[in-house]
Every structure is written in C-alpha cells, then in structure tokens.
Symmetry: C2
Subunit: 399 residues, 2 copies
Amino acid sequence: LVMLKDKFVGFFKNVWQLGVDDPRKVIHAFKVGLALALVTLFYYTRPLYEGVGGTAMWAVMTVVVVFEYTVGGCFYKGFNRATATVTAGFIALGVHWIAHQSGKQFEPVILSSSVFLLASAATFSRFVPTIKTKFDYGITIFILTFSLVAVSGYRVDELFQMAQQRISTIAVGIFICLCVCIMIRPVWAGQELHLLIVRNMEKLATSLEGCIEEYFEEDLNSEKERSQKSLGYKAVLNSKASEESQANLARWEPRHGQFGFRHPWSEYLKVGISMRYTAYCIETLNGCINSDIQASNSVKECLSDECKKLVTQCAMVLKELSKSIKEMAQSSSLDLLVGNMNMAVQDLQDALRSLPSQLQEEAQVQNVATMPLMEVLPVITVASLLTEISVRIEGVMDA
Amino acid sequence: LVMLKDKFVGFFKNVWQLGVDDPRKVIHAFKVGLALALVTLFYYTRPLYEGVGGTAMWAVMTVVVVFEYTVGGCFYKGFNRATATVTAGFIALGVHWIAHQSGKQFEPVILSSSVFLLASAATFSRFVPTIKTKFDYGITIFILTFSLVAVSGYRVDELFQMAQQRISTIAVGIFICLCVCIMIRPVWAGQELHLLIVRNMEKLATSLEGCIEEYFEEDLNSEKERSQKSLGYKAVLNSKASEESQANLARWEPRHGQFGFRHPWSEYLKVGISMRYTAYCIETLNGCINSDIQASNSVKECLSDECKKLVTQCAMVLKELSKSIKEMAQSSSLDLLVGNMNMAVQDLQDALRSLPSQLQEEAQVQNVATMPLMEVLPVITVASLLTEISVRIEGVMDA
C-alpha cells in the first residue's frame, strides 16, 4: 500500500514538473476549458435554445475536436471541418433527393449503397500522401457528415433547416475556438518550428564540441554535465516527426510576428534534413570515441590541436547560423567563419599528411590505433559540406 | 487546360498505382464502406428506430471514428471510446444531480464551471507521456461526452434512459467495427511491425553490400539499380515513428497467428533502435564514399579483399538474423556467423597494421587518402557490436 502511495506521489510530482517546465501546456489546458465553458454558457443563455435543441451539441463537439495546441492546428481543423461539413451536407442532400424520387422501396438501398461507395472512396483517398497531409481530418468529417445526413434524412423532413442550423452551430464553435486560441497566449506552430530549428542547431554545435573535448581530455571531472552536453545531438535525430507536423500546420497560420503569410516553411524542413545528416555523423563519431579501439596518447596529441581548432570553427559556424536564422538576417561574418573553417580543414589534412612520417620515427605498430581519430576527418568534411548547404538555404530563406 | 488535364491524369495514375502496390489499402477502404452500410441498414430495418431516433447517429459516428487500418488501432479506439463514454457519463450524471439539488439559479454556473475544470484537467493530462500513448483518444471522448451530457441534461429529464440508449448504440457500432475489421482480411499491427523489422534488416544488409561494391568497383554499369540497393538504409532511418505507433497498437491486439497475447513487442523497438544506429553508420560511410577525397586505387586494392570479406560476413549475419526473427526460431548457425564476422574484423585490422610499411615501399604522400577506407573499420566495428546486441535481444525474444 505504501508502495502504491509512493508511486502515486511520484506520478503527481512528474505531472507537476511537466507543468512547471512548460507553463504553456497548463495555459492550453485552461484555454480548452474556457472555450468549452463559453460554448455551454452561450447555449444556456440563448433564448433560441429550445428551438436548436439537439444541434447545440454540435457546437460543443466542434470545440472539443477542433481546439488544438497550436494556432495552425486550430485553423487546419476548423477549415477542414467547415468545408467538409458543407460539401458532405450538399452531396448528401443531393443523394437524398434522388433517393426520394425513386420511391419508398429503393430509398434505403440507394442511401446505403451511396454511403458504402462514398465512404470507401473517401477512405482510400486518405492513403494518398498529398491529401493525407492537408485534408486527413476533413475526410473523416466528410464521411461522418454524409452518413449522418443520409441516415437521419430518412425520417426528418426539414433537412434544409436542420443543415442550416447545424452549419451555424459549427460556425459558432469554430469562431469561439479561434478567438480563444488566438486571443489568449497563442502558440504559433511556425514560431515553435523556428525555435526548434534554432535550438537544435545550437545543440549540434555544443554536442560537437562536447564530443571532442571528451575525447581529448582524460580527466573525467564533471562527467555527467559533459555527457549531457555531448548527447544533445540525439534530440536532433528524433525531431523529424515534430518538424514535419509543425511545418504542415504553420502553413495554415495567418501573418504573425516576424512571419509573413507565405513564409517559406519548407526551407525549414530542408535545414532540418541537413542537420539530421550532421547528427548522423556526430553519432558515428561518438561511437568511435566510445569504442574499444583507442588511439595511443602520443598519436592523439599530434592531432589534438588541429582537431580542436576545427571543431571550434565548426561550432562557431553553426552558432552563427543559428543566430542568423533566429534573427532572420543575413549574417555578415558567416562567410568569414566558413572560410576559417575550411582553412582549419586544410590544416588538419596537412597534419594528417605529416603524421605517418612522424609516427615512423616513434613506434610502428600503434598506427592502427589512429583510425578513430582519422575518422574525425570525414565527419568534419561532411560538416563543412553541410554548412555550405545551410548557407545556401539560408540565403534562399532571407531573400 | 491540357496541362490541367495532364495533371489530373497523372494524379489518378498515382492513386491507381497506390492501390496496385498495396491492395490491402483498397480492401480497407471497402471495409470502412461496408461497416458503415451495415450500420445504416441496421438502423433502417430495426422497428425500434422511431424510439432511438437521434441516438442512431452515435452508432454511425462510432464506426467512422473507431474504424482503423489495423486491428490494434480498432481495439485501441473502441476500448478507449467505450470506457471514456461510460466514465464520463457517470461523472456527468453525478455532477448533474448535484447541480440539480442546488436550485435553478446555480445550475448553469455549477455545470459550466465543472465543464471548465474537468476539461482543463483532462486536456492537461494529455501532455503526460504515458497517458498520451495509451489513452489520448479516450480523453478526447471523455471531454466530449462529459460536456454533451452536461449541456443536454439541462433540458432532457430522462437522462438515464438516454445514457443507456447511447451506450447501447455505441456498443453496436464498436461491435460492427470489430467484426468487419477482424473477419475480412485483417491487418494486424503486430504482424506489420514484425515484417517491417525483418524487411528493414534485409535492407540494411543489401545496402551495406551495395555501398562497398560501389566503392571498390569502378565500372558503373547498372548504376541506377546499384544506388537503389545501397540507399535501402534510408528507409531504416525514417521508420522510427511507424515502428513506435505499431508497437503501441500491437499491444492491444488479441492472440493471432504466431503471436501470443503478451508477445514482447518492446523487444522489436529495441531491435529497431540498434538497426537505426547501424543505419547512421552506413549513412556516414556512404558520405565518405561519395566525398571528394578519395583513396588511390593501389591503397584500395590493398584492403579491398578484407573489406569485401568483412562486409559479406556482416551482411550474412544480418540476413541470418532477419531470417531467424522472421521464423521466430533461434538460429543454430548464427553463432558461427558472428564468429566468422569477428574473425574478418581481425583480418582487416591485421591488414591495416601492415599497410603503412607496405605503402612506404610504394609512395609516400598518398597515405592521407586512405582515410575514407579506414573509416570503414569503425563502421564495421559498430556493426559487429550491433549484431552482438541483436543476438542478445533475439535470444530474449524467443525465450
């Protein structure tokens, strides 16, 4: 029983920590509550209530399913819901009219088969990638509305009036959603994406530095902090899904802050992809550093200066890049830094070239052990290649 | 106009191709249609219809939102929907009773504030990771049902009867969903996951082979086919999200085929993670192979035999592993193959050790150029490390 209590307390501590770490999540929760309370109040106080009756629930339902964490998500779902409801409603009315004309006997058959066909077609269309990213939710609503109208229409005669009421209630729901979502501490998917990219780039820089530091310095004081630092690249590896969904939602957002309506969100994705490629390299590098086969210290020392210099340059380029993306301004010192970095690459290559003869003078067999170190070079080459790419992308973005 | 038509035709060709490539998607679409048609027919033919009226729509809605591509998804959503509806209904009834007791004036206030509080709490709980993976959908439904009952209850007096009707219709909807989903060509999330892992492992093997082949052979005939082969590892890089969601859904599935109820799905995730680590290495290797700095042919030749042998061994281990996972049987030859692979690693290391002296005899400066080749070694070390891990995991899985 005590164990159970401990578990419970631990769980609540975790949850509390979650709220402290990101107060926006708590605010979001209250926003949902507020939107729902507003809708319920709206329908309590309206004298029209008696007439609307069952359709009031549509407003509630709309708020529950449309309200998303980001403004982009809200717009996306709201737009999808509205258009899907309207189109499905019209098609259903048309089918209904046809079914009605063909007599009592055929009516159920025609309606059921139309439901079958349209639902199948719509479901299949969800597998098409372009439709999936943009209208996935809309299609669910389309199927739902169509089947509902087809079924309920069998008895209810005032279909048109009902459709009108339903659309108006959904509009009210969406309106309240958007108001609450935008007015009170909005979370913009675009801004999130922007910050994510900037943060990830900084993480790359620090973890690259951290790795090399760890490799060249033997004394492992403050080990934990350092490994924390050098593991930042893992976040980059796993951020693909969130980047993509945010870029998707950001497209739906109106102008806000520094971001225009047609901000090139896809450029962010490209930057994200090149960052992931760098992160793969760092991952491999990290593997080499922690592998069993290690270079002897003498070999390490031969190259340690050049390696450290190069990594510092790489990190500086990355940090400058992240700064310039953050401020969305072409950085003037970036070209210089990239030049420095390329020079550092040259230096390292020279050092490597003179290494064999140097080693020959010392001992022979330990040469094998240089490999983990040499492995640094390709990584760095790729990193420089990447920064080249990033520079180009960045030029495109701020054009 | 012709361009538009071309685009249209192209789009339809794409869609058609999608259907031909994976006929199960088409079948799924028809299954959704069938389930919906069944529900509508069910409600047309029942004499009870007049009485149920509005609640029939709940069955339709349930089918639309619960029906998922995989059986696991169906179970997950069905279970979440059922429990969430029942609990939310009960809590709402309780709140309602309290509100009713406190008089006409306070009723709207109490109801609205309870909606506000509960919706906020529930929304916030969706951010907790463990709840999110298992009950995300259930919480949406919980909020929905609770608000609906709270709102509608203001007027309707026969709340209990309504609740009972609603639960029964939802039960009918879920029942039809599960029947159609399981009876007609079911798609098991577990099996999908199993196949995905096996396929990815084979891809890793072929792309590892492809890379090395590409590197050591100069003649670039059948270039396209080869690069296709060597790029298979990219699929492994990007399969994280689908692996995780499938493992999540697989947990909800009952016993089927070779898979028991408590099949260790999390082991698949571990295998997936180690495969992704290997894929990162191959990615880096690929970058080195295509980089500007290339080894001279003489250096390449020195090591080509050993490298090829090692890669062949690695690929054999991976293929044997994938075969044994596929058949879910401990493979007897696996230990032997791993032994061979480790021997090949040793051979390559010996070859590298003798390389400097060999090169000294030939020329001097070109030594720098060996790096891309040497980079192969760490990769392979990691690969051997990985296979060790995989072997262990596999032992766990088939225990």
